[in-house]
C-alpha cells in the first residue's frame, strides 16, 4: 500500500493553519449524531474525550483501571515542555521544533513536530485555566526548569507530580462532560479487539473486568489512546497494567505498526534489587539538573561513596560531554552508564548502578532548596532503598521507559484503517527515534486537546447520514466469538508455568537482545527463540479461575500473549534497521567515539509494518522522511 501521510503543502509554519482551513467540518447540530469510542483515559484519551464532548459529540470512553484518574500518565514526574519563552532565554516555536527533530535523531516527521511545538503554548494556557497548580515564582508567574537535551528553560512542572496534575486537570474536564451527558465512561473495561467492516473501523469488543461480560460497542470512529508497550520487557517504569493489546489487535486488523524497535531507556531509575522485582521506579530526569553523575575511577572500588575522595571519582558525563554535561539526552546518558558498568566501574549489587550525587548542590543551594525541588523524589527513593539521598548519593541505572514506536498515523492522526485514530504514546508520531524529556505529556495533550478534535471531523463529515453498524451484525458477533475463544483457550490450557514466569523470561530476552544495544547476531538469536517461547506459552501457561468474575491472571495472560507477538515484530524491525539512531543502537554502527551512527541515505524512513498473519513475515512499507527545515547533522552534545 502507498502510504499517504497527508502532510499539508506550504511553508512549515503555515501547514497547521492551512490544514484546519482545508479539513471538512461537522456543524454543531450534526455533531451529536456521531458516536466516538475512545479507548484510554490518560492525558491523550481524557483530553480528547473531554474536548470532543465539549464540541457536542457523543463519546464513550474506556479504561481498564477502576477510575479514569488512574491512567499511567498519572506517574509522570518531571514536567511538560512549551515554547512560551517566559524566561526570555531565546526559546521559540522553531527552537522547540528544531530540538525535538534533532533529539529524535532525524527520524520524525517535520510537519507533525512543528504543529506540536505550535500548540504547546495553548496546552499551558488550558491547563492553567483548569486549575493545574504549576510551580510559580514569588512574583506569581509560572516557573520553568530546564530538562535533558535542551539548553533553554521551557519545562513547566507541578513539584514532582506534573503528570498527576495534568491528568487530574484532564480527568476533571472529562468528568464535567460526564455530568453534561456528553461522555459515558466505562472504567474496568478492557478492549480486546477492533471491529473492521468494509475497510473501516466500526467498533470494539470489550471485557468487563468485574463481571467478565464480553460485549460490542459500535461507533462512527474509534480512537486508541492506550499508551506505550514498554512492558514487553517485563521490567520497566510503566505501570503494571500498561500493555499493547489494543494497539496490537488493531494491527492484526489492518493498522500498520511503525518503528516498533524505537524504545527509550531512561538513565535515572532505581536499580534492580532482586529477582522478585516487579517494576522499576523512575527518578525524574530533572534530578540531573542538580545532581552529578559519577563512578569510582578504579574498577571494583567497593568503598562507601562518601569515603571515595574527589580525586578518585570520575564524573564521566561532564568529562565526555563538556557542553551538556549531566544534561545530555537520555539515550546518550543511558549508554554511558552501561559502558561504565561494562567496564567494571558500576556500583551496588551486581555493579549495575552509578551514583547521582547531590552533595555539591546541597552545599551551593542549601538542603531546603533541594527539598523544595525534589523532596518527594528523595522520600520515594528512601522508602524504596532505605538510603537517605540527602546524605548518601543515590544509586541509579537505566531502565526501559517509553516507546517511540506505535501505530502509524497520518498528519490527521488516522491509522491505515479509515476511522481508526491513534493518539498519545500509542502512536509513532513526533518523537522519531528518541523522545526528549517532558515531551510526552506535551504530545498527549496536544493530540487530545488540539489536534484530534480538529481532524476527526474531516472523516466524520464524509460519513454524514450513514447508519452505524448494529452490534448484532455478524461483523461484531464473529469477533466476539473470537475473543471468547481466546479467553476460553487461556483458561483451558492449565499448564505448569505462571503468566508472570513467561513474561519475565520474554522480558529478559528482549532486554538482552533488543534493549539498550542490539546486534544482528543477537537479534537473530531472539528471533529464533521468541516463536518457541510463544508456542510454549500457549501450551503450558496456567491460568486458574473462571471468566465470569474478576480474574487478574486471565487479564495478564491476554496481554502477555500479545507481547509475545509484538516482541517478534520489534526484533524484525531492529534487524531491518541496519543503522543506529536515537534509542536504537546497533553495535555495528557507531562513531569512533561510540555514538550512534545513522545511515541517512538508506534509512531515512518510517518503517510501517503490515500484519500478514504470519508473524515471521510482516510486510514493510516505507514512508520516506523529507527534511526541509532542519539540517541533518550528526548529533553532538560535546
Amino acid at each position: 500500500m502507498q502510504l499517504d501521510a497527508k502532510i499539508p503543502t506550504g511553508p512549515i509554519a503555515e501547514k497547521w493553519e492551512k490544514a484546519r482551513f482545508d479539513l471538512k467540518l461537522v456543524n454543531p447540530a450534526n455533531k451529536r449524531k456521531f458516536e466516538i469510542l475512545i479507548v484510554g483515559t490518560g492525558l491523550a484519551g481524557a483530553s480528547a474525550a473531554a474536548t470532543l464532548g465539549e464540541l457536542g459529540y457523543n463519546v464513550r470512553c474506556f479504561c481498564f483501571q477502576d477510575s479514569a484518574r488512574r491512567a499511567h500518565s498519572i506517574a509522570a514526574q518531571g514536567g511538560i515542555n512549551a515554547a512560551k519563552n517566559y524566561q526570555n532565554d531565546g526559546d521559540s516555536v522553531f527552537r522547540l521544533f528544531y530540538d525535538t527533530v534533532k533529539g529524535g535523531d532525524y527520524r520524525a516527521r517535520e510537519a507533525n513536530v512543528h504543529r506540536l511545538a505550535e500548540v504547546s503554548v495553548n496546552i499551558i494556557d488550558q491547563a492553567t485555566a483548569q486549575g493545574v497548580p504549576f510551580a510559580r515564582e514569588y512574583g506569581g508567574l509560572l516557573a520553568n526548569r530546564s530538562f535533558g537535551g535542551a539548553q533553554v528553560s521551557r519545562t513547566f512542572y507541578a513539584r514532582g507530580q506534573t503528570g498527576q496534575q495534568l491528568l487530574l486537570g484532564a480527568y476533571q474536564a472529562l468528568m464535567r462532560q460526564v455530568k453534561a451527558g456528553r461522555v459515558t465512561l466505562h472504567a474496568r473495561t478492557e478492549m480486546l479487539d477492533l471491529v473492521v467492516h468494509e475497510g473501516r473501523a466500526r467498533g470494539i469488543v470489550t471485557r468487563d473486568l468485574a463481571t467478565g461480560d464480553i460485549r460490542s460497542w459500535s461507533g462512527d470512529a474509534v480512537v486508541l489512546a492506550t499508551g506505550g508497550y514498554g512492558n514487553v520487557y517485563y521490567l520497566s517504569t510503566n505501570a503494571k497494567g500498561s500493555n499493547v493489546t489494543a494497539a496490537w489487535r488493531a494491527h492484526r486488523r489492518g493498522a500498520y505498526f511503525a518503528n516498533p524497535c524505537y524504545t527509550q531507556i531512561h538513565p535515572t531509575c532505581i536499580p534492580v534489587s532482586g529477582d522478585y522485582q516487579s517494576k522499576l521506579t523512575l527518578m525524574s530526569e530533572s534530578l540531573r539538573n542538580d545532581g552529578r553523575i559519577w563512578v569510582p575511577t578504579a574498577p571494583g572500588d567497593s568503598r562507601r561513596p562518601t569515603d571515595i575522595p574527589e580525586s578518585e571519582r570520575d564524573y564521566y558525563l561532564e568529562r565526555r560531554y563538556p557542553a551538556f554535561g549531566n544534561l545530555v539526552p537520555r539515550d546518550v546518558a543511558s549508554r554511558a552508564a552501561k559502558k561504565e558498568a561494562d567496564d567494571g566501574r558500576g556500583v551496588g549489587p551486581g555493579g549495575l548502578g552509578v551514583y547521582l550525587d547531590f552533595a555539591n548542590a546541597i552545599e551551593r543551594l542549601g538542603q531546603d532548596a533541594i527539598a523544595a525541588r525534589y523532596g518527594n523524589l528523595f522520600e520515594m527513593y528512601e522508602r524504596i532503598t532505605g538510603d537517605d539521598p540527602y546524605r548518601v548519593p543515590m544509586r541509579i541505572f537505566p531502565a526501559v521507559h517509553y516507546t517511540m514506536g506505535g501505530l502509524w498515523v497520518d498528519y490527521n492522526l488516522m491509522t491505515t484503517v479509515p476511522g481508526l485514530y491513534s493518539i498519545g504514546e500509542s502512536n509513532f508520531s513526533d518523537h522519531g527515534a528518541n523522545r526528549l524529556g517532558a515531551s510526552a505529556l506535551m504530545q498527549g495533550l496536544a493530540d487530545g486537546y488540539f489536534v484530534l478534535p480538529n481532524t476527526i471531523g474531516d472523516y466524520l463529515a464524509q460519513h454524514m447520514g450513514e447508519e452505524r453498524l448494529e452490534t448484532s451484525d455478524s461483523a461484531f458477533t464473529a469477533i466476539e466469538d473470537d475473543v471468547r475463544g481466546r479467553t476460553r483457550k487461556l483458561l483451558e490450557t492449565n499448564g505448569k508455568r505462571t503468566v508472570d514466569d513467561f513474561h519475565r523470561e520474554l522480558g529478559l530476552l528482549m532486554w538482552n537482545e533488543c534493549g539498550m544495544e542490539r546486534s544482528a547476531e543477537g537479534l537473530r538469536r531472539a528471533l529464533a527463540k521468541i516463536p518457541e517461547m510463544r508456542e510454549e506459552f500457549h501450551q503450558n501457561v496456567r491460568v486458574l479461575g473462571g471468566d465470569q468474575t474478576v480474574n487478574q491472571s486471565l487479564e495478564k495472560a491476554g496481554r502477555v500473549a500479545d507481547f509475545f507477538e509484538l516482541a517478534e515484530l520489534m526484533c524484525i524491525d531492529a534487524l531491518n534497521r541496519d543503522e543506529s539512531c536515537g534509542g536504537h543502537f546497533r553495535t555495528e554502527h557507531q562513531t569512533p567515539e561510540g555514538e550512534a551512527q545513522r545511515d541517512d541515505e538508506n534509512f531515512r524512513y518510517v518503517a510501517a509494518w503490515e500484519c500478514t498473519g504470519d508473524f515471521a513475515k510482516p510486510v514493510l512499507n516505507k514512508e520516506p522522511l523529507e527534511f526541509e527545515n532542519v539540517k541533518l547533522t550528526q548529533r553532538s552534545y560535546k
Binding site: D66, R70, A129, M175, R176, A239, S278, F450, T498
Partner: protein, 251 residues
C-alpha cells in the same frame, strides 16, 4: 524472612468472605509489600489455588489504585506511604500480618482485597472542576497567583483518591477527599467563580452516597499517604456555610 499472613478472601460481591492463613516463607526485606504478595500468589497458582486479588497499577504511590488494611491500619505501618511503597523492612522475621480490604459501605468489596470506589468519581463529577472548555483559555501568565496560594493548592491537589481516609474513618466519611478538591480549586483565582456552587454540589453528592459524616476523629489525616491536612475540612465547612447563604449561582 518468614511471615504468617491472614488474608481476606471473598469470591465475589455477594459471597461471604473469610480470613485465610498463608505461610510466606523466605521473603526479602528489600521487597515491596506487593512484591511479597506477588511471590505468595505465584506459589498459590502452582499449588492450584486462585491468587489473591488486589488492586495496583503504578506501584509508585501515585495512581491511588492500591490499598489494603494491614494490621488494622489503612496502607499499613509506615506514615505517608501507600501499600505499594511499603517495604518489608518495616516488618520483622516471624511477624503475623493481617490483610483486609477497605471496609466501608461506600466501597463495596468486589473480590478479596478489591473494592468499588466509583463513589469518589461521582463526587468529582458533581463539580470538582473549573468549567473552561478547550481553546478558550487566556495566556497562562495573565493572572499571577501568589506562590503561597499555588503551593497550598498543590498540597491539596496531591490527593491520589485511594480511599484510605474513608477506610480509616470510624464513620466512613469522605470529608478529607472532598475537601482536598474543594480547597485545591478554591485556593486558585481560576476556581473562584464556581467556588461556592462547586462546594454545594460536591457536598450534596457526598451526602447522597453511602459515606458517613465527619465527627473530627482525624484518623483520615493520620493514614493519608499524601499527608493531606484536616485543615482543608475546616475550610470546606466554612465554604459550605458561605455557600448556603451566599452562592450567587444557586437558584
Amino acid at each position: 524472612m518468614d511471615l504468617t499472613l491472614y488474608v481476606w478472601r471473598q469470591a465475589g460481591p455477594d459471597a461471604a468472605g473469610e480470613m485465610k492463613r498463608y505461610e510466606a516463607q523466605g521473603m526479602s526485606p528489600d521487597m515491596s509489600f506487593l512484591e511479597m504478595l506477588d511471590v505468595v500468589n505465584e506459589r498459590l497458582i502452582l499449588e492450584g489455588e486462585e491468587p489473591i486479588v488486589f488492586e495496583h497499577d503504578c506501584r509508585e504511590g501515585i495512581c491511588g489504585a492500591c490499598g489494603m488494611v494491614i494490621n488494622g491500619v489503612a496502607h499499613g505501618p509506615q506514615r505517608a506511604t501507600t501499600t505499594c511503597q511499603l517495604h518489608m523492612r518495616q516488618f520483622n522475621d516471624g511477624d503475623t500480618i493481617y490483610i483486609e480490604p477497605w471496609r466501608s459501605t461506600a466501597f463495596p468489596v468486589l473480590r478479596d482485597l478489591m473494592v468499588d470506589r466509583s463513589s469518589f468519581d461521582r463526587i468529582i463529577e458533581a463539580g470538582g472542576y473549573v468549567s473552561v472548555s478547550t481553546g478558550s483559555a487566556r495566556d497562562a501568565n495573565e493572572i499571577p497567583v501568589p506562590k503561597a496560594d499555588a503551593d497550598s493548592a498543590m498540597d491539596a491537589a496531591a490527593c491520589i483518591g485511594c480511599g484510605a481516609c474513608v477506610a480509616a474513618c470510624p464513620n466512613g466519611a469522605a470529608q478529607l477527599f472532598t475537601s482536598a478538591k474543594v480547597a485545591h480549586l478554591g485556593l486558585l483565582p481560576q476556581g473562584q467563580p464556581e467556588r461556592l456552587s462547586r462546594t454545594r454540589a460536591m457536598v450534596a453528592v457526598m451526602e447522597d452516597e453511602a459515606f458517613g459524616s465527619c465527627t473530627n476523629h482525624r484518623e483520615c489525616e493520620a493514614v493519608c499517604p499524601k499527608q493531606i491536612s484536616v485543615d482543608y475540612i475546616a475550610r470546606l465547612n466554612r465554604d459550605y456555610l458561605k455557600a448556603q447563604l451566599l452562592d450567587p449561582n444557586a437558584k
